[in-house]
Amino acid sequence: MEYTLILLILAGVFGLFMAWGIGANDVANAMATSVGAGALTIWQALVVAAVFEFAGAFLAGGQVTATIRKGIIDSSPFVSQPEVLAIGMLAALLGAGIWLLLASWRGWPVSTTHSIVGGLVGFALIAVGAEAVQWDKIGGIVASWVISPLLAGVLAYLLFMSVQVLVLRRSDPLAEAKRYVPFYIFLVGFILSLVTLFKGLKHVGLEVSTSQAYGIATLIGIAAAALGWVVIRNLRLDPSADTEFRFANVEKIFGILMVFTACGMAFAHGSNDVANAIGPVAAVISITQSGTVAQSSPLPIWVLLLGGVGIVLGLAMLGRRVIATVGKRITELTPSRGFAAEIAAASTVVLASGTGIPISTTHTLVGAVLGVGMARGISSLNLRVIGNVFMSWIITIPAGALVSIVSFIILRAIFIH
């Protein structure tokens, strides 16, 4: 195959750029809820996001990467022309990147995941035809785009109701908050580590049985809860703050919880969204190295690292500003509400990651926020904007596909004469 090195370098650069964009924009959205609630400062959010995005990408990002890499496009029509598949993967990456750049510049509510899936479908349609697309998989993915915000919404609703019944409506909400918040922290640690143990760790060479997974997840949950318990004990509460608003100190305790849910959110985001950047890269590497479309080789770990580094770079360079701007506007989501939205969204996303389904983290988070709103937890939600967010994903797929088709035609003209 010609131009192997150039294709590899391009794949690396485009993948890094995409990861960078995800870090600069999507991660910032995921972290802004915690910053807006006052649970984290911007710098703390950056550190939390960097560590847990990376961990999520590295430990639990393999499944979704595999789906993007070989689950959406049927590679058999490409057996005789592997370079077309490689170029197509590049085109999908480039197309989604350009489209996202345009969208985030214009402030359109666009999902990275939807763009890349649209991009893959687009190039496959042009390069081969409808038979190159694994429509059954696409059907499942699209269904999950409807289900994931719904599921997150229901979870958030239930979590917020539980906190009202267990804590906020009691005669001494402060004492109840101290008692129950560690349980919620346990929940965060338990769910995230359980899914990761079940599905994510094969590529790092760690195989665990079901009972082992439950055991380890329980231990991690208890460790997180214990840590939270100690922090809450040592939290300096200011009784005078409660004269103005009687729940000021209760919210402070939920603020501790929100530090944990922010970690969970970053982890979940990393596990699902890193694939959007590195899935196509992994495909290009596999094709160029073997010269075939077989793609049976395992995902090289350094590609996951590339994605993780890209996300952290984007976060460090641009994400800080985005977190600051968005965080300033999301002050409505106080910790007693925000945590419910974040646990719900993070659990849904991690669950999807474990199953290898690429979903939109932001849409899931919006679904969760809507769930809290339905439980009368948010002072006002703009339904028109929420409608736009969900409508936009219908537009994103053809748009991502279109930009990817154009990229593909150009790249094909350059590399295949």
């Binding site: 402030g107 109701m161 409506r169 701007t325 999301i330 937890g377 002072s379 339904l383």
Partner: protein, 225 residues
């Protein structure tokens, strides 16, 4: 920087503006006793100044009302029914208008009660102002109610507030009918047009307590719904 869509999903908060509106209304209402007092003292200059302040506060309240009404026209998901919110806003608005009209009436006509009724009228007025202030505290309790989803401990505190409002209103009713009876006794000795306006002053003053109670009732609907 384009507007971020995640922050865009959060609509304008309506509780704060509603509370600010109520604060402006109360600023307006609570000037009335001093205004009446200075008229009784024959200090017309001071009374005019207070009258102007009443008008300023009322106008400020109107501006806040318009902003809030605009917000309510969006398609928003609110924790409380839009109708209840509007109802509270309208009652608050009526209270401010009533205070403004009352101030205008007594100021323009330099109206004052007969010497022996002045103390009792001021007591009646202060009782009505108190009930308005109590309604204000209840409106400020909306923050806490919202925090707990309009149920539980806070709702009980709220019910106690509303009990106070009821007590103040019946006290005001009592004082009003006593005063009306005494004005009636003096009808023959006073200029008839003045008598007419004295009844009107009494009735408008009583309205302040009525409106306070109506706000209380609307809030009560929120915690019992």
């Amino acid at each position: 920087m384009p507007v971020n869509y995640l922050s865009g999903i959060f609509g304008p908060s309506l509780l704060k503006p509603l509370q600010e509106h109520m604060d402006a209304v109360i600023a307006c209402v609570s000037l009335l006793p001093e205004l009446i007092h200075s008229l009784n003292q024959g200090d017309g200059d001071h009374a005019s100044k207070l009258h102007e302040q009443v008008i300023e506060h009322e106008q400020h309240a109107d501006e806040l009302k318009i902003v809030l009404r605009e917000h309510l026209s969006y398609s928003l998901l609110l924790p409380i029914p839009r109708r209840d919110l509007l109802e509270i806003l309208q009652t608050q608005d009526k209270m401010a208008n009533r205070a403004r009209d009352l101030a205008g009436l007594v100021r323009r006509r330099e109206l004052s009660f007969p010497e022996d009724l002045r103390e009792d009228y001021l007591r009646f007025l202060r009782c009505c102002v108190n009930s308005a202030v109590q309604a204000q505290s209840s409106v400020h309790e909306l923050d806490e109610l919202f925090e707990t989803g309009f149920r539980g401990q806070v709702a009980e505190i709220m019910s106690r507030f509303l009990g106070n409002l009821d007590a103040l209103e019946s006290e005001a009713d009592q004082l009003q009918s006593e005063l009306e009876a005494r004005v009636m006794q003096k009808e023959s000795s006073l200029p008839p047009v003045d008598v007419m306006f004295l009844y009107r002053v009494l009735s408008w003053t009583g309205n302040l307590a009525d409106y306070s109670n109506r706000i209380g009732n609307s809030l009560h609907l929120l915690v019992t719904r």
